[in-house]
């Protein structure tokens, strides 16, 4: 699915000068893989996730996604890739506070230009898949942290992406809820033949992954596990 070759991403931060967040990373992520990316704060793991998620283009190297180099795509094409093929789960859930759970999930279908009725039906089904059918009309503020992350997962999966990218998906949850969310992600990964990439600090999360990549100062220090599913 992904083939990263000598990927480098540099940020220019005013007086701090230039920061190389990702430095010459080579990585292959196969279809159906579950990769956990670990590393200390500032090690470049989130930037790597953003590169995988077509949020950034690398300054050097290539990020091939299904044979297409994301570095060579125009902004509108990157947007289309994000809208159609990639699902995101965020640490802070990132739900729109004024929209209900159902509407938040629907928001992910807006770029696909689906008819309203189909959008609504698919969003309802996605919420049901994560066990929140009875919370569809609730605003995010009326949901617990675990429920909000379930809505976030439903939103990521409603467009049936081929890859799910999660940025510290359990970082804001208590232990019990974290386990539920991890179990849910694992179930969905298995049932839907997803490719799952999770950035995490949490050893319990990385223990469940099939492979673990460790980032250190922008470099990929080590990858543990085999590429096969």
């Amino acid at each position: 699915m992904y083939t990263l070759s000598s990927v480098t991403k540099t940020y220019h931060r005013g007086r701090e000068g230039t920061v190389t967040a990702v430095d010459g990373v080579d990585l292959v992520i196969a279809d159906g893989d579950w990769l956990a990316i670990k590393g200390r704060t500032g090690s470049g793991k989130s930037t790597l996730l953003q590169l995988l998620g077509a949020m950034h283009r690398p300054d050097r190297g290539a990020v091939e996604f299904d044979g297409r180099d994301l570095a060579g795509l125009r902004e509108a094409e990157l947007t289309r890739v994000r809208g159609e093929a990639i699902g995101f789960v965020f640490q802070t859930f990132n739900l729109i506070p004024t929209l209900s759970a159902l509407e938040n999930v629907e928001a992910a279908l807006v770029p696909l230009r689906l008819p309203g009725a189909e959008r609504q039906t698919r969003a309802a089904a996605a919420l049901a898949d994560v066990g929140l059918a009875d919370r569809a009309r609730h605003l995010p503020s009326e949901l617990s942290g675990g429920q909000q992350q379930r809505v976030g997962i439903a939103r990521a999966l409603v467009k049936q992406p081929r890859v799910l990218l999660a940025d510290e998906p359990t970082g804001n949850l208590d232990t019990a809820t974290r386990d539920e969310i991890l179990a849910l992600l694992e179930t969905l990964w298995r049932e839907r033949d997803l490719t799952l990439v999770v950035v995490t600090h949490d050893a319990d999360v990385s223990e469940r992954a099939r492979r673990v990549a460790v980032m250190d100062a922008g470099r990929l220090a080590v990858v543990v596990g085999s590429e096969g599913n």
């Binding site: 967040a21 947007t79 994000r82 159609e84 807006v110 309203g116 959008r119 609730h138 429920q147 539920e180």
Partner: protein, 519 residues
């Protein structure tokens, strides 16, 4: 803690316990026939509702600016109406050009000292006798002189002229020459010896849409018809009629002749008190005892010629043609007459047009800037939310549309505030505005006759008595539907500007803004 917040906390606390109780069906009550909700419309509205304080602040700021603009424009419109009314009282609604001729010396015969001079300069003497002697004189209004009716016919043949009418503007001065026995030992005459003046207009009944009478609005009775050409009928100014208890069917006296009142008409300030058919006015003026002294040599003379051009582009050419045709006369268009109006009306109009418009433009600009800054602040505070939409694959145009739609709602709130403030401001202005005066020449278009005097401080030039007169004008601030439309459009434009500024900021947000850690 509010009840709502408690309920939400309780629901959230229950949430995790109920997580495991997943339901196999969607259970949302979704029905195929249920109309789908336009998410892209719901989102901006809810966002505006969530930030209602900022929306109200921004809308109120826009509203103050819009309201001030509405008030100032309403005042300007009211002053414009007042100026037009003054001009209409001089030469009517449908007239493009008026022609008058200045008299060599201003003023009607002044009978106060029982010895007056007409514009011809010849003296008219009245001597008290054994019995009181009623006197009623028709003279051209102060400052005006005669024009031959033939000039009107010649004017009608000029290229670009659509219609021509003649008119007579006369002063009817009446008083009673007292008997010797009525004069006090110190020489003071009785009150009846002091003159009363009636402003009389001779109306060309064949061309009622030209001249001052065209501005009249009938409030009772009827207007003139062709059949009234030689009849002793009159249309009386409604204010004059009220002051003198006159009504339709009654009569009014002009030059000792009784005219039957056929109608009452509301007219701009300064209009004639009594309008009678032109032919009758000419006959009376010719027959008046003052005609030899005022220079009226034939009964077909007029004091005014009113011209309507075929089109706006013809006005300048017709004016030049008339000036060549009547070199001794003064040819005036609406714009040249407007320049000659002075008084507090002009002063206030100048103030509104200059200071008022600059002030409202400044406040409006400040309101636009405020709305834009608040929108920018809102975009910055929603960096993660907007970044999330971009990460979900929303193209820039959808995010821009979202911000613009929200700003337009703010603009709509500003429109509501602005219309309310504008209507209120205009109403207050109309209620408290003092009466204004417009000073106009008795001989429209002519330079007012001057008196020159010399005293210890040098030479002084003053307007000759009777050359100018003041018209009282009530200031109003009418708010028209088109002005309200302009207000709403301006408020929405303010919202749009703010939306574009916010959209520019939002469109520059990268999708990575959705994530907390960019490093």
């Amino acid at each position: 803690m509010s009840r709502t917040r408690t309920d939400r906390t309780d629901r959230a606390a229950r949430g995790d316990r109920e997580d495991r109780a997943t339901r196999p069906d969607h259970g949302l009550g979704l029905r195929p026939d249920r109309p789908t909700r336009p998410l892209r419309a719901i989102h901006p509205l809810r966002e505006v509702r969530r930030r209602w304080r900022q929306t109200l602040l921004s809308g109120a700021g826009l509203g103050v600016g819009i309201g001030l603009v509405v008030t100032v424009m309403a005042a300007a419109n009211g002053l414009g109406d007042a100026e037009r009314a003054v001009l209409h009282s001089l030469y009517g609604v449908g007239t493009d050009i008026s022609v008058t001729k200045a008299s060599p010396s201003a003023g009607a015969p002044d009978p106060k000292d029982l010895n007056a001079s007409g514009s011809s300069g010849k003296g008219i003497g009245y001597s008290p006798g054994k019995d009181p002697q009623p006197v009623d004189q028709l003279t051209p209004a102060p400052g005006l002189s005669w024009l031959p009716s033939a000039a009107a016919a010649q004017a009608g043949r000029l290229h670009g002229v659509a219609e021509v009418a003649g008119g007579l503007t006369l002063s009817d001065t009446s008083f009673i020459v007292p008997a010797l026995s009525q004069i006090a030992p110190d020489g003071t005459p009785p009150a009846s010896a002091f003159p009363t003046t009636l402003l009389v207009s001779g109306v060309d009944v064949a061309h009622p849409s030209l001249g001052p009478f065209a501005s009249a609005k009938l409030v009772a009775g009827r207007g003139f018809t062709d059949a009234d050409r030689g009849a002793d009928v009159a249309v009386v100014d409604s204010a004059y009629a009220a002051a003198h208890s006159l009504a339709v069917g009654g009569s009014v006296t002009v030059e000792l002749h009784r005219f039957t009142i056929i109608g009452l008409a509301a007219q701009p300030a300064g209009s004639a008190d009594v309008s009678i058919p032109l032919a009758r006015a000419q006959a009376l003026a010719k027959a008046s005892s003052t005609s030899p002294y005022t220079g009226m040599t034939s009964p077909d003379m007029v004091t005014d010629i009113y011209v309507r051009a075929a089109g706006a582009s013809d006005v300048a050419g017709v004016r030049s043609g008339l000036a060549r045709l009547l070199p001794a006369a003064t040819v005036s268009s609406a714009s040249s007459l407007a320049d000659q109006v002075s008084g507090s009306l002009k002063d206030v109009s100048r103030l509104i047009n200059q200071l008022g418009r600059w002030l409202s433009a400044g406040v409006l600009t400040a309101a636009f800037v405020l709305a834009s800054l608040l929108t920018l602040a809102a975009v910055s505070s929603r960096r993660r939310e907007l970044g999330t939409l971009r990460a979900l694959g929303w193209p820039r145009r959808l995010v821009v549309g979202q911000i613009t739609a929200e700003a337009l709602v703010t603009g709509a709130v500003g429109a509501v505030f602005g219309v309310a403030i504008g209507l209120g401001g205009a109403a207050v202005l109309s209620a408290i505005a003092p009466k204004l005066t417009a000073t106009v020449a008795n001989s429209p278009g002519n330079v007012a006759p001057k008196n020159v005097g010399i005293n210890a401080t040098g030479m002084h030039v003053t307007d000759a008595p009777g050359s100018l007169h003041d018209l009282a004008v009530r200031m109003a601030a009418p708010v028209s539907a088109s002005l309200l439309l302009v207000a709403v459009a301006t408020a929405l434009a303010g919202g749009l500007v703010a939306g574009l500024v916010g959209s520019w900021r939002a469109s520059r947000l990268p999708p990575a803004a959705a994530m907390s850690d960019v490093g």
